[in-house]
Amino acid sequence: MAEDTTLIHSDDEDTQKDKYLTFHLAGEDYGIEIQYVIEIIGIQNITDVPDMPAFIRGVINLRGKVVPIMDVRARFGIEDRAYDDRTCIIVVNIDTTEVGLVVDEVSEVADIPESNVEPAPRTSKNSEDSYIQGMGRINNDVKILLDVHKLLFSGEMQELAESLEEQ
């Protein structure tokens, strides 16, 4: 199944260009490139896995597939908030690895042409800017565009990812 989706994506690359899935998290709007997104599901029962970083909430069963779940709030070090019926899991796929991202609320798919994307601010007090790919402008709104690859693999997950790459 994983291969299928990547195939479709490579076919549709043009139509998916400059399209971002935007979501809401702790008062800010974020966006991720649509090409990584597989589907959006409501929050479900997550099974804990011991000895994991705090932002890995556990695993869920997605139609017979075991998908790990990352809480983006916890990833950014933002205070926890109880899951409600607006809470969503965005399932993304990078290099055949599927991961579910827990966000407060999914907004829409937005067109942000390259000309409207500013590079990420160089200096920042927060460490989270390393996940930022750029700042997208839609009229007067600003969306923080996230680098999905870094979101998944940098920092604490890096070591793990490296050990997997070696194999």
């Binding site: 099974t47 011991p50 994991m52 890995i56 556990g58 695993v59 017979g64 075991v66 690895t97 050990s163």
Partner: protein
């Protein structure tokens, strides 16, 4: 082969490569065996393998491979015929030929030709050629040498003029000759089988028809190629078979033995031809005469000799064609009744022999095993689908919506489906499984090479070759096995003098075994060498900074495990076999990849034993679902011994704070599952929960849980790669309600229990 290849050709070449690899795999052990005892069967087997390789390589115009295989074949042929004696150097040379073939195959697979192999091919065929020369000592140099001339093709061409066919000097190429030999071999083989069957069961007319057709085609081929001698012989055989077929009498009751003897001659001649020699049959005339005598002359022939008119005889023969009974009745010598009863008896007799003969004939031809090559990717997706089917089935049968309903028919149908799905899954699992024999046999060659290089005498014992393991797992453990065997041979086993001095047999033994155990496959490498040197390991580990302190507080197991650290080697000198300290690291890495484990056992002076414990992939395990607080886990039933609700009298708390439970005469440490999962249990009081006694690697311990929920067969799924290996968890499964449930890894639970204990002790010391 400069022209571009189409897909079909590429496919043929790839097929050739896989087939040849299979052959080489068989070749190597056979060659090593040849070095130990050169019985003719082994030589023949090797010969055949080289021969088939030559055949297919020749067909695809891989000239260099053909050349080497041909040279090897020549050498073997001379050994087989007793013209030269086998010396160890020959074994080495043949092994080198195998290596060359392997390299050439790599080349073929990447470039679809073996053009780049000119130099090595020259080298090896030259060496083989020299070996023959050397062995023959120049006794009969000319005749044979010509065949060994480096190009097989030119040799064949050079011999062409010697052919007997004066009438039609046809250009017979090497390829044609080859196809003749191949076809001839097939024909002769089926003839042989047919004759054997017929010899057992002379009444079987059908089989004679087959034999006849085979011999006839063979004769035709011989005629076409101008192999006059074997043509004559096969023609004579055909005559006899023709007689048998038409029901005439022969001089002996059953000529099968005679025919078999002739068949052997034909086979020999074909072998000669395949070696590029003449089709000479020794004592051909004699055999032809022998066969002629088999044919009982027809009565008519004698009558003609006596002067009776041919016409009359023909008439008599015509009449003869009528059933005997009718003639007798016509002549009035027998009554119809008599004839009828006689006929009936005859029929009974025939029926009886048929009845007894049929089953015998059936056992004669063993069921032919048929294989089909399938792309691995297809199999994988099939198996994944079946895995999902099992889960879907579970979700259906244990659907929460059905709770509390009485559904008799549904349950019946459900059970039926469960059974089918289970069978389907078991079948799917076996598809990917292949016996380890191929892997083990590859090690024969390795052990041989190393033992020669290291100057040690070794017996390699293979046990449990029929054990089946997943194909990818076999690929993953190939390298580890190589490293472990090298270690055993290079470091483990002592040189012969040292062994004798230690009162051991001069010859060391290395045992390689595979078996199923505890739902895993255990591959064991055991040697009776000097064992691991603990002092040396510790010394080295300390000097490399791998451990802190002097290591005096380490258990034997921990010390033994140090050898798996990267860069670790106690060898004083790096030999070209081992000593760089990379090997054991590779072993560990590869085993981790397939979630396997390694156990090291060693007794100084007596040897060491290394067990690779490999989980069966996509295994279904019987699991006990247990609950602690709000989370559920699965404990493999295989490692469960018993479960009980403890009473406080059974619990002892040591001064260190370790909790021990007394189970009959044993005190077992208690591991609290809620500690491992970081969960809150219903109650911390041991008496409120349940203790499960688990066993792993001969270590027993108790697991403290809140409740046992039930038992279920589960499909192991890996936790996502994103998460990687989780200590204490071997995987997960999906339950009937769709939730994910972790499967506990009893093996690492022991370790984490031990670690917890150590941590606990450390914190206590700090306080």
């Amino acid at each position: 082969m400069s022209m571009p290849l189409d897909d079909d050709q590429i496919e043929i070449i790839q097929e050739f490569a896989t087939e040849s690899r299979d052959m080489i795999e068989q070749l190597e052990p056979a060659i090593i065996e040849l070095g130990q005892n050169s019985d003719s069967e082994t030589i023949n087997a090797i010969f055949r393998l080289f021969h088939s390789m030559k055949g297919s390589a020749g067909f695809l115009e891989f000239d260099h491979m053909t050349r080497v295989a041909h040279a090897a074949e020549n050498l073997l042929d001379m050994i087989r015929n007793g013209e030269i004696d086998l010396v160890p150097n020959h074994v080495t040379l043949l092994c080198a030929a195998c290596d060359f073939a392997k390299e050439a195959l790599d080349m073929v697979e990447s470039d679809y030709n073996d053009d780049a192999m000119v130099a090595p091919a020259d080298d090896i065929s030259e060496q083989l050629h020299q070996a023959i020369e050397l062995a023959k000592g120049g006794d009969e140099p000319q005749a044979e040498v010509e065949e060994e001339s480096i190009s097989a093709e030119s040799a064949a061409v050079a011999e062409q003029p010697e052919k007997e066919t004066d009438l039609l000097q046809m250009e017979i190429t090497d390829e044609m000759r080859l196809s003749f030999v191949q076809e001839g071999n097939e024909l002769l083989q089926s003839t042989e089988q047919g004759l054997l069957a017929w010899g057992e069961n002379p009444g079987d007319i059908d089989s004679i028809g087959d034999i006849f057709r085979n011999i006839h085609s063979f004769k035709g081929n011989c005629g076409f190629f101008g192999f006059a001698q074997i043509e004559k012989l096969s023609h004579q055989m055909e005559n006899i078979l023709d007689r048998v077929k038409s029901g005439s009498k022969l001089a002996v009751d059953n000529p099968a033995d005679q025919l078999l003897a002739s068949l052997d001659l034909l086979q020999q001649a074909v072998n000669n031809i395949s070696d590029g020699k003449e089709d000479t049959v020794e004592n051909l005339d004699q055999h032809l005469n022998d066969l002629q005598t088999l044919i009982a002359p027809l009565l008519g022939d004698f009558l003609v000799e006596e002067g009776v008119q041919e016409k009359a005889i023909n008439h008599a023969v015509e009449t003869q064609k009528k059933p005997v009974g009718e003639i007798l009745v016509q002549q009035g010598t027998a009554s119809t009744e008599q004839v009828n009863s006689a006929l009936k008896k005859q029929q009974d007799k025939i029926n009886k022999t048929k009845a007894t003969a049929k089953p015998a004939a059936r056992t004669k031809t063993p069921a032919k095993r048929q294989d089909i090559r399938v792309e691995l990717g297809k199999l994988d997706s099939l198996i994944n689908l079946i895995g999902e089917l099992v889960i879907a089935e579970n979700m259906l049968i244990h659907n929460p919506d059905l709770k509390g309903l009485e559904l008799e028919n549904f349950n019946k149908a459900g059970q039926h489906m469960s059974k089918l799905v289970r069978e389907l899954q078991e079948m799917a699992m076996t598809i990917r499984m292949i016996p380890v024999s191929g892997l083990f046999r590859r090690m024969i060659r390795l052990v041989h090479d190393i033992s020669v290089k290291a100057g040690k005498k070794v017996d390699l014992e293979l046990i449990g070759e029929e054990t089946e393991i997943d194909k990818t797992v076999i690929e993953t453990i190939t390298d580890p096995l190589v490293h472990l065997l090298r270690n055993s041979l290079d470091h483990g086993l002592e040189p012969p003098e040292e062994r004798l001095a230690a009162g051991k047999d001069e010859k060391g033994t290395v045992k390689l075994s595979a078996r199923h155990e505890e739902g895993e496959v255990w591959v064991t490498i055991e040697d009776n060498g000097r064992g691991l040197n603990k002092e040396k390991i510790l010394e080295k580990a300390i000097s490399k900074g791998l451990i802190e302190g002097d290591g005096s507080d380490m258990t034997d197991k921990q010390i033994n495990n140090l050898i798996f650290a990267p860069g670790f080697s106690t060898a004083a000198a790096i030999t070209d076999i081992s000593g760089r300290g990379v090997g054991m690291d590779v072993v560990k890495k590869n085993l981790e990849k397939i979630k396997g484990k390694i156990d090291v056992y060693s007794t100084p002076g007596q040897g060491s034993k290394i067990v690779l414990r490999i989980p069966l992939t996509l295994a279904i395990i019987d699991g006990m679902i247990v609950r602690v607080g709000t989370s559920t886990c699965i404990v493999p039933t295989l490692s469960m011994l018993e479960a009980f609700r403890p009473v406080m009298d059974q619990i002892t708390i040591t001064p260190d704070g370790d909790e021990l439970a007394q189970v009959r005469d044993n005190f077992l440490p208690i591991v609290r599952l809620h500690d491992i999962l970081g969960k809150k249990p219903d109650s911390h009081d041991l008496a409120d929960g349940i203790l499960i006694v688990l066993e792993s690697q001969e270590t027993r311990f108790c697991l403290f849980i809140d409740e046992i929920l039930g038992q279920q067969q589960t499909v192991i799924k890996g936790l996502s790669d994103f998460i990687g290996n989780v200590p204490g968890v071997s995987g997960c499964t999906i339950l009937g309600d769709g939730g994910v449930c972790l499967i506990l890894d009893v093996g690492t639970l022991v370790d984490s229990a031990e670690n917890k204990k150590i941590n606990f002790e450390e914190t206590k010391e700090n306080i």
